[in-house]
Symmetry: C2
């Protein structure tokens, strides 16, 4: 109906009075009445379904000059502002423009927000709708763009991985945002989209782009806080390097995101060199394909894609966070304890206390610039404090081809079986299993033209498995995806230190291969009284040491390691030698 | 040394007389003498190693004005023309410019041919070297380009799949070919390469490209005959559609191609919409990666990549063609029986009598234009005549995600095992197995934005398996690759009819999915006296009937099917109703 109203608007002045009155009185007004009153729960709901209804009713109000409909759409049926478009604006987006379901649904929800917002602006500019809530509508548009890499949205929660900046919703959004801000970086997004809308906004986008005003979009390191007040965790986006393909780490420290949310508290995605390196599976769904359940979410979306084991985060005792119950997940969220962009580093840390009963999960992740011109290093410390005797797993899914590893694996070469019984474990084949001597292991893979080495250091005797999706998938609904699983079979307090190191170059066209081996000699930890050092020794003799307060508190620390005193004050620091 | 000579050429005139004489007499001449006489077997060999030696010796001859060295390089040590560069030109390339090892090695071998060819042309234009053998040097350059799709070479035989038009050898080749022909289509190849050589030829490429003279390269349907006289089979390239991404079917009806050849007689590759749809595994090798056997061919190259089961062709009794012995393979080749480009179709047929003892393999493949604007249809008939009671397998490897299939599969959901014991079968996991009722089955997959349905019709009770590479691969050397295996468990005379149908559109960004189901109702065969009809019935009621003479002979045929007489004269025909 939102679209129909747009159509009606365009032809209204060309209609005879009689036609206009009939359309208005016999068609549009009854429909708007029906939409707003037949199912008041939907109309009053703070949810994108409610926004579609509000937009339809309000835009009808403008189209047929019925101000009552407009008020109802803006303020809810009781005209008290507890429902309706303004309440939805205030409550569905965080102050940073993050939509709690994630970018895939954000771009969908954006459509009625942008279209109705523009209708309000055009008809009643005095409402200053685009200034409402500190300009939240604009923030929401921009936040959607920031949640992308190489043109595609971060595939967190239920997301079709192919969805990106060129969706029609964001074409409207970019045109509107450009009209509001004149930011020439938006023109580069419009050019990626390849088309614009046939409106005045779109015309300005097209003519300014043709006039060569375009500059690169200002992708940056930012925290998109979640929740209406920005107090329910957030999505941390760490970027380092030049341009839109700068290395990008996404830390999903958000709230649950309702029914389409995944049980993936504190999960990570890493992009580098134009590719997704540490991957998120996204949704198990083939849009509009009849043979795939008509395009609906497939059974494997619940049994695999939403489960914790499908993500790059910790699983305790083979059960998913919040026991796989999204309503429970909805009641809590991680606390962001550190978010800082410093000289040569970005860092984010978060903690959640009730993903499991009596369990604390805390993750601290650094993105470190390298002096030698190679890609940034990811240094990640995952602390788990749970019941003694627990099995603690940290999976890591990667794109690419394994080229080397330090583990002596038993390979399941002629026969292989599923990893576990339930909660997503039943969908993984075990390709290999081995022990991690001293908890330490090293895995190198090749993703297109670059090598990546994953250095893992677990706090106790650990096991490693190479796993691959595809088990218990009768209809071939799953994509094949390989992963590395590090397991502490029996632990209570546990720590996983992970270093992800991009290195070298593989150019089979030019027959050039450089630095296919890791440059890191060893990764080790040194425990202080209230802080930990992670020391990374390079084969060159260089050493990078990261210091982290165990409680993320601002305190003074002194730790002696390799005959040297490391002193600092604060929750974290970096020493380069 | 070829490159050193180029370098010396560039600086020669800037040297003092004394330096020049010392370099020539103490360095270059002794090296050229050594190269040509120390290992005469290599120097005299008709092989790319011999060409590198000849080029080095001959170019040294020009550089130090020693005509004896030049003659030796051109005509061999005995100056009789039985060895040396001219003999290599005549014997290593077929009259169509096909190099028997395939395009991956062709572009490698091209380098000394082009560089020495240019040296001869520059120093002794009266030799008309580029006219030698009906211009075979130019044919060889062009044939290399024709053996590519979307910038990458067809990955037949031992080939690094990432290798394509932008290799330095072909940069030289394109510049030389452009100098010779002025064909502006070559400029589009140069632009894809993104760079050119610092020579007069390269300058002309660069300036003509800058002047906007570029036109698309003339990719076309062509048969590249194999063998010095063009009598040893050939590579058939069938193209249909617009531009460089036109649907392209590659039928590998060539000879063995020496030690780097694969045991894949009559195998097919299909490209469509910019992607490889029916795939060739290429080589198991990671160039220059120390952890992968230093970048050499991996053990899985012999145990998997070269074996017949790794290709889209028939395997009898789980053994590879010519028993996996390339020297045996070298002694024979397929006979091309039909190659024709007609109105709305291309067709190629070939036969080989000794891939197995007492066995005839014959394959007839049509590429048919569709009236309804959808992509061309591939209709493929594979006839096998072997010992009764043989197990006859036809695998088909595809890129993409299975979305639908007609077979009631037993899925190996919690445990899976390898397909067979040896000859590559040990590297395949069996993901599912089922029976093909009446030999007929249908499989649909999604490759990027398009659906493909494989309709199979076997001549007897058949089985189907879904397989995937990865078994018995201790070092994770194999890429994951899914395939469909159709098996006649016990047969003597057998026929596999395969129809590959591109259809529909999947655009998750725009949320548009069209025609994800096949438009084909049924595929059936009707046997006549000396010919067969393959009838394809569409859901629209349309029918396409392909007629094939069983011996590819030109004869008159009359067959009655569905109450209708089909009459034609010749080895093949197409009826559209």
């Amino acid at each position: 109906m939102v679209y129909s109203i747009q159509g009606y608007d365009a032809i209204r002045d060309h209609l005879s009075d009689r036609s206009r009155e009939r359309i208005q009185n016999e068609l549009l007004r009854p429909m708007a009445e029906f939409l707003s009153t037949d199912s008041p729960q939907t109309f009053q709901r703070i949810h994108n379904h409610g926004t579609w209804a509000a937009a339809a009713v309000g835009m009808t109000g403008y189209a047929i000059d019925d101000q009552d409909l407009v008020e109802r759409a803006l303020l809810g049926l009781d005209l008290d502002g507890n429902a309706g478009f303004l309440a939805q604006l205030d409550q569905l987006f965080s102050p940073d423009g993050y939509y709690t379901e994630g970018p895939y649904y954000q771009r969908y929800a954006l459509m009625p927000f942008v279209l109705f917002g523009q209708a309000v602006e055009n008809n009643e500019p005095e409402r200053r709708i685009f200034e409402h809530g500190d300009g939240i509508l604009l923030e929401a548009i921009l936040a959607t763009i920031h949640q992308s890499y190489a043109g595609l949205f971060f595939p967190i929660n239920d997301a079709i991985r192919e969805k990106g900046l060129d969706t029609v919703e964001l074409v409207y959004g970019v045109a509107a945002a450009y009209q509001l801000t004149g930011d020439p970086g938006l023109l580069s997004i419009a050019e990626q989209q390849g088309y614009t809308v046939l409106t005045g906004d779109g015309l300005r986008v097209a003519s300014d782009s043709a006039a060569g005003l375009t500059t690169p979009f200002g992708y940056d390191t930012r925290l998109l806080r979640d929740g209406p007040d920005g107090q329910q965790g957030g999505l941390a986006i760490l970027r380092m390097g030049e341009g839109e393909l700068a290395q990008t780490l996404v830390a999903k420290h958000t709230g649950q995101g309702m029914g389409h949310g995944h049980f993936d508290k504190l999960s990570l995605i890493l992009y580098d060199g134009g590719h997704e390196i540490l991957t998120d599976y996204g949704a198990a769904r083939f849009l509009n394909v009849p043979s795939k359940d008509g395009g609906r979410y497939l059974p494997e979306n619940s049994s695999w894609a939403r489960q914790t084991i499908a993500h790059n985060t910790v699983v305790v005792n083979e059960t998913s966070h919040h026991d796989g119950d999204w309503r429970r997940g909805q009641e809590s969220w991680p606390t962001i304890e550190i978010f800082e962009q410093g000289d040569g580093y970005n860092v984010v840390a978060a903690r959640i206390d009730d993903a499991y009963d009596d369990t604390i999960l805390a993750r601290t992740t650094f993105q470190l610039a390298m002096d030698d011109g190679s890609g940034p290093l990811i240094v990640d410390v995952f602390d788990v404090d749970t019941m003694a005797g627990s099995q603690i797993d940290l999976p890591l899914y990667f794109s690419g081809q394994l080229t080397d590893f330090s583990v002596e694996f038993e390979r399941y070469t002629g026969q292989q079986t599923q990893l576990g019984a339930d909660n997503g474990y039943q969908h993984l084949w075990v390709e290999a299993a081995g022990e991690l001597a001293d908890g330490a292991g090293r895995f190198t893979w090749l993703t297109n033209n670059r090598f990546y080495t994953y250095h893992t250091l677990a706090s106790g005797p650990a096991e490693a498995r190479i796993v691959r999706t595809g088990a218990n998938d009768p209809n071939f609904n799953l994509r094949t995806q390989q992963g590395i699983l590090v397991r502490l079979p029996s632990a209570g307090q546990a720590r996983f230190v992970s270093v992800i190191e991009p290195h070298g170059l593989y150019d089979p066209a030019q027959e050039v291969t450089v630095q296919s081996d890791s440059r890191i000699e060893s990764v080790l930890t040194v425990e202080g009284e209230s802080a930990t050092l992670v020391q990374i020794e390079f084969t060159s003799g260089a050493r990078v040491t990261v210091g982290i307060d165990n409680d993320h508190e601002d305190r003074a620390h002194t730790i002696t390691a390799n005959g040297q005193r490391y002193e600092w004050s604060g929750s974290h620091t970096i020493f380069r030698e």
